[in-house]
Amino acid sequence: MVRSAGEATTAEPPAGGTAGGAPWIGDTTRSPVMLCGVGAIVTAFVAIGFLAAYLPRSAPLGPPTGLLVASAVLTVAGIALLTRRPGFAWDVFRSVARWILVLTLIFAAMAEYVFAYDKTRGAPLVVMTIVLVLAAINVPVVIGFSVARHTRPAV
């Protein structure tokens, strides 16, 4: 018999492996945290794609602004749902998300430099910067959560 987080009991030992005769295969439930995180990243990417599809002309800012608002709402909802998750392995989450955050901040800084180098100004620059901020928040959350959710629940 194979167990997952969806059917975990309080009798589970904290270590991984096959203790108790039931191999631990991680959290197999569908998580709204992942849904919010992935949704936030997708909507932010679509906002950038919308702007890029109009190049070299200026794109109308209504649709990308709406997408960014949706992305921000999903980001807040995802983080709120994450903080309310019982028995979550925060130590694993922090150790993973911290380094991913460093990586995404470096990439975001590079991208911002490229925008400045390309003389992107005004509203498009604001939209691009917000997308980078949302990505810098959501990517570490999604990756950290994806790793930490599979930690075997504590006794």
């Binding site: 295969i25 190049l55 070299p56 990756i143």
Partner: protein, 130 residues
């Protein structure tokens, strides 16, 4: 290339290989992706490919979609799976069933990634022969 080679190795060999290979890949691959994306964007801007009118511009839109899909797969599936397997392999007794289930994701996403790579080749060829 690495997938089939790994498939022919025994389990201890795979674990030893993955322990050394995955940390390097996790650092190199995202950096490579960002630098090639930035370089490609700048090249397209300089040669004027970004300014082409529709319907040719649809090829650029298609390339944005391909990049977006590949980025989503990388951030949502591949990178977390890499880190999870790496952390598991560092334990004294790695959880085989968990690693096996996570690694199966690579098989599911390999088909999509392969399709995206073919699409990239088609788009690049089309843009280069305008």
């Amino acid at each position: 290339m690495i997938g089939p080679i790994l498939g022919k190795m025994d389990v201890p060999g795979r674990i030893a290989f993955s322990r050394r290979f995955m940390p390097a890949m996790m650092l190199i691959m995202p950096t490579l992706v960002v630098t090639t994306l930035t370089a490609g964007w700048q090249l397209a801007r300089h040669v004027g490919d970004l300014a082409v009118p529709y319907p040719r511009h649809w090829w650029l839109v298609a390339s944005f979609i391909v990049v977006g899909v590949m980025a989503i797969i990388a951030y949502v599936v591949l990178e977390p799976a890499n880190i999870l397997v790496l952390l598991e392999l560092r334990k004294p007794q790695p959880n085989g069933p968990l690693i096996g289930r996570i690694m199966r994701r690579f098989i599911y996403t390999a088909g999509i990634t392969g399709l995206m790579q073919v699409a990239t080749l088609v788009i690049m060829t089309r843009i280069a022969t305008w």
